[in-house]
């Protein structure tokens, strides 16, 4: 009886949590399907209106910026490219860094790792001038690489991969060596498949991180062609319902990537156990 009650009670708490998170999103979504005048006179709407198609197509084809060089669709493409680039690069670089730190006979590997790790304390915002100057020297201002590279080294992902590699028994490496695997083969045939689950998790994490970037894209791009969705949220002009529609749409890619990859994520967990 107590068990029944306590399980119901914890469900209740979870439900309350869900409502707290969902209601604002729903309000914006419901409001985005009305006309601007309704929102301006009656405030946020709880029920759906009939202007869904009209508002959303307008936003998608909206041309923004001073020179009208950018559309919402292009912003989504930019954001997607940036987020995928950041996710790919940071996963690959952290995988390899961790491999070197754990398996190569690097002197002071632990010290090196902690030096990498303390870069967490030095976020991009703190080193924005030197980073910008490097990017401009490399002629990467106003380019996708300029958006991606400075934020694609992740100390946290390196930490996760390193800790995971440390749990892999040495016999596996020795056995692989005797089976004729060289350094590269061991990485590709063993470490990458064994850390599949973690790779997917880190990919999701870094994708969302890249997608959410705001300050760096603003600094490194002056051309409107490189506007990202998050920049667009701020820069966009137009009526309130269009802004609402854009907010809702901007949420779709990260949510989608989690839903799509979560399937593999869970599958990975069960297979490797």
């Amino acid at each position: 009886m107590i068990r029944y009650f306590s399980s119901n009670f914890s469900h209740l708490i979870l439900l309350i949590g869900i409502f707290i998170m969902i209601i604002p999103v729903w309000l914006i979504f419901a409001s985005s399907t009305h006309t601007a005048s309704i929102i301006n006179t009656q405030g946020l709407q709880f029920f759906l209106g009939d202007k869904f198609l009209e508002n959303y197509t307008k936003v998608l084809l909206y041309e923004g910026g001073f020179f009208k060089e950018i559309t919402a669709l292009k912003m989504f493409l930019n954001s997607f490219l940036m987020a995928t680039g950041v996710a790919f690069l940071s996963v690959i670089s952290s995988l390899m860094t961790a491999y070197v730190l754990v398996y190569f006979r690097v002197k002071y590997a632990t010290l090196l790792f902690w030096i990498i790790f303390i870069t967490i304390l030095v976020p991009l915002e703190l080193r924005i001038f030197p980073t910008y100057s490097v990017m401009s020297t490399l002629n990467l201002v106003n380019s996708y690489w300029g958006l991606i590279i400075p934020i694609s080294a992740s100390a946290i992902a390196t930490l996760f991969f390193r800790q995971f590699y440390k749990t892999i028994p040495d016999e596996l490496l020795e056995s692989a060596k005797l089976d004729g695997a060289n350094t590269w083969r061991f990485f590709i045939d063993f470490l990458v498949p064994l850390s599949k689950t973690m790779i997917v998790a880190m990919f999701i994490f870094m994708f969302v991180f890249g997608y959410n970037q705001y300050l760096w894209p603003i600094l490194v791009t002056s051309s409107e062609q490189y506007w990202t969705v998050v920049m667009g949220l701020k820069m966009m002009s137009g009526s309130i319902v269009n802004k609402f529609a854009f907010v809702i749409m901007s949420m779709i890619p990260p949510v989608l990537i989690i839903i799509v990859l979560q399937k593999y994520f869970i599958k990975g967990i069960f297979q490797d156990k």
Partner: protein, 350 residues
């Protein structure tokens, strides 16, 4: 020239620990060699040096006429079975067996043929598509052996492969390993701390202590003729009894009895060793034992008791003999089957 030659092989770890002292030995083609010794004696280090997983500090190792000191483990053509099997968790059994062959650039058809042959030999054909996590301990053990066999290497190395199995399975796998080795005929080195495993598997046995080979020989040679107290105590179950004594002019005095005409010119304090199975009951025997404990194993009885100052003296008699706790036994040593060791250094003196 022998198949595998170790010449003054020494291992010193960077922290200065000397794990293996100038060890020299030869292993013949097709031989089953067992390294036995207590944990930390250097037997695994020696094996790992042969495999190439540890650097050799000094000395040479020759395999099949080639100096392999600096040869990469992957090119030594050696297969090893690890204590925890080290199966590849993300590959199914088939790929576990095939991986080493793939790396050697063998064609797909040949790999399939070899894997299937090995699987048949080890009776794991029906598990080929399973992942290691779905196998039992014994099956994993077989896969680990299959991975070694499938490559037909020059030499098999076994690093305590049976210690993770339960007692019954261990005996069964022991038998299978021996049969398999005889069938395949590959030179093998087997490391264990279990002296029964060592005795049953070995063609020849190396008893290792503190990084040194104490004695090398066939199991029965070592059992009958241990060169030192350490070997005598390590080989044989239950353990040999050791009694303190004094040897003077071929007469040994110990714990209330005397042995005359000892075949030794040594004079001084000694340790007398008597195996539990080398004694029998008589009316007026040498040794008087007051029984404290009787272990009935069915086929045998192990009698533990006290003689003068020595506690837990063990005597083994047939299981049909009924001996009660608290009774007094009179024992004689059969056929002068006793061993005398110099007390100061443990060397055999008779």
């Amino acid at each position: 020239m022998s198949f595998l030659e170790l010449n003054k092989v020494t291992k010193i770890y960077p922290n200065g620990t000397k794990a293996v002292h100038e060890t020299s030995m030869n292993v013949e083609n097709g031989e089953f060699m067992v390294f036995v010794g207590p944990s930390g004696c250097g037997k695994s280090t020696l094996l790992r040096m042969i495999a190439g997983l540890e650097d050799i500090t000094e000395g040479n190792i020759n395999l099949d006429g080639i100096l392999i000191n600096k040869v990469d483990p992957s090119e030594r053509d050696i297969a090893m079975v690890f204590q925890n099997y080290a199966l590849y968790p993300h590959m199914n059994v088939y790929n576990n067996l095939a991986y080493g062959l793939k790396n050697r650039g063998i064609s797909k058809e040949d790999i399939e043929k070899k894997v299937n042959e090995a699987a048949k030999l080890l009776q794991i054909s029906e598990y080929l598509q399973r992942k290691p996590s779905m196998l039992s301990g014994g099956q994993r053990q077989r896969v680990a052996m299959g991975r070694a066999i499938v490559r037909s290497p020059k030499i098999f190395l076994f690093d305590e492969p049976l210690s993770n199995l339960d007692a019954k399975l261990r005996i069964q796998m022991r038998l299978e390993i021996k049969k398999l080795q005889q069938k395949v005929g590959v030179t093998s080195i087997f490391v264990t701390h279990d002296q029964v495993e060592a005795m049953t598997l070995a063609d020849r046995l190396a008893v290792i202590n503190n990084g040194l080979i104490e004695q090398l020989g066939t199991p029965i040679e070592i059992y009958n003729n241990p060169k030192s107290m350490f070997v005598a105590g390590f080989i044989g179950s239950p353990q040999m009894n050791f009694l303190e004594g004094e040897l003077k002019n071929k007469t040994l005095t110990s714990e209330g009895f005397e042995i005359n005409n000892v075949t030794s010119d040594f004079n001084g304090p000694v340790i007398l060793g008597i195996r539990p199975e080398h004694m029998s009951q008589t009316d007026k025997g040498l040794i008087n034992l007051s029984v404290d404990l009787v272990e009935q194993l069915g086929s045998d009885n192990l009698i533990y008791g006290e003689i003068k100052n020595k506690k837990d003296f063990c005597f083994r008699c047939p299981g049909s003999q009924i001996i009660k706790k608290g009774s007094k036994l009179s024992l004689n040593i059969n056929d002068n089957n006793y061993y005398v060791f110099d007390k100061s250094n443990g060397n055999r003196v008779n």
